[in-house]
């Protein structure tokens, strides 16, 4: 949910204050990038799309209305639409095996390799889920959003989110067991 300080920052951003939007960018850039990266499985495309999401958000910040949901819900909505548009316009498809390694935080090379292997495994598994199940898994378990926040971001009732989550986990189990 929105805390008082974030609300003030959002109000400043709505008022056209670039530095306020800069703070929001710093806070949510990582989450949105991760969400997009796991859906498109390509670093540069994820960067371009993330840039476009924040550009759209800043361009349309004056139409944003505070309704009690976190600011990230709005950003996730823009990101989802951006990814949908991306797939609609994209002609060629990328082979998941040829995808570049993501930028991860790790200490040693071993650790990094292990992490990248796990991420590849997750990406592979997630890519086999439906779009809605992908969204729920990423938002709930990777970006740690609450069911209510996830519902707001995906514009669906909480009960639907719970059902989607249950099905997504079952499907992930099946995919990872193979």
């Amino acid at each position: 949910m929105l805390d008082g300080e974030e609300k003030l920052i959002i109000l400043d951003a709505i008022g056209g204050k670039a530095s306020a939007f800069g703070l929001l960018y710093d806070k949510y850039n990582g989450q949105i990038y991760r969400f997009i990266y796991l859906k498109v499985s390509h670093r540069e495309e994820a960067e371009d799309l993330t840039h476009q999401v924040f550009m759209n958000a800043w361009q349309n910040i004056k139409s944003y209305k505070i309704q009690g949901f976190p600011f990230s819900s709005w950003l996730y909505q823009i990101a989802r639409n951006q990814v949908i548009d991306h797939y609609r316009t994209k002609k060629e498809t990328l082979d998941i095996e040829n995808v570049e390694e993501p930028m991860t935080v790790g200490t040693s090379l071993d650790e990094k390799l292990h992490l990248n292997m796990e991420i590849d495994l997750v990406k592979n598994a997630i890519s086999k889920l439906t779009q809605e199940q992908q969204d729920v898994i990423i938002l709930r378990f990777i970006d740690d959003l609450s069911p209510k926040e996830t519902a707001a971001a995906l514009k669906k009732p909480e009960s639907t989110i719970r059902v989607l989550q249950h099905r997504a986990i079952k499907n992930l189990q099946k995919i990872l067991q193979k």
């Binding site: 960018y25 670093r43 993330t50 840039h51 361009q59 139409s63 740690d144 992930l172 189990q173 990872l176």
Partner: protein, 179 residues
């Protein structure tokens, strides 16, 4: 594989981070632009809000009207105008009045027709009989002769016209009488 293991694997994805250089560049580019000015009156969202509100108001007022018993009930009981065109009672009364006036006219026509017929009959009877003039006063005789001559011509003036067919038949009869 249990859910905890899936959770562990998914947690590894939390370490995915965007390139710092890209982040800085992207931020600078975005903040260098100006946000769009939204028109408070003509924006699509406002239009949608207006349509939604008017739709809700329309539905609610229709339901209220429906619950209150419709237009005729409201007109009958609450309307200060009292539109007669919508009142069933006033329409029936009006129709009765029109019927009555038609009946009266028909009766008048029938009565006039009968009286015309009687007059014609009387005239024809009078014309068949020979006129009797008194010899006492030649002036009276003259006037009576004059009246006998003119009576048939002026009769039509005293007759009340009812319809063209009746008038025609009366004229024929009068002509015969004159002959």
């Amino acid at each position: 594989m249990i859910e905890n293991e899936i959770q562990k694997i998914l947690n590894s994805c939390k370490l995915i981070k965007p390139n710092q250089e890209y982040t800085q560049n992207s931020k600078m580019v975005i903040l260098a632009t100006q946000p769009k000015e939204t028109s408070p009156i003509f924006s699509a969202r406002n239009l949608f809000e207006i349509l939604r509100t008017s739709g809700v108001v329309g539905i609610v007022s229709f339901l209220l009207l429906f619950l209150m018993g419709g237009v005729s009930y409201i007109n009958k009981n609450f309307s200060p105008l009292g539109l007669e065109g919508l009142s069933q009672k006033s329409l029936i009364t009006e129709a009765k009045d029109i019927n009555n006036s038609i009946e009266i006219t028909l009766k008048q026509i029938k009565y006039l027709d009968q009286s015309n017929q009687k007059t014609i009959n009387t005239i024809s009877e009078v014309s068949k009989n020979q006129p009797i003039f008194s010899t006492t006063t030649p002036a009276v005789a003259a006037t009576s002769t004059q009246s006998a001559a003119t009576s048939t011509d002026d009769i039509s003036e005293f007759l009340i016209e009812t319809s063209t067919s009746t008038v025609d038949s009366t004229d024929d009869l009068l002509n015969k009488a004159a002959e």
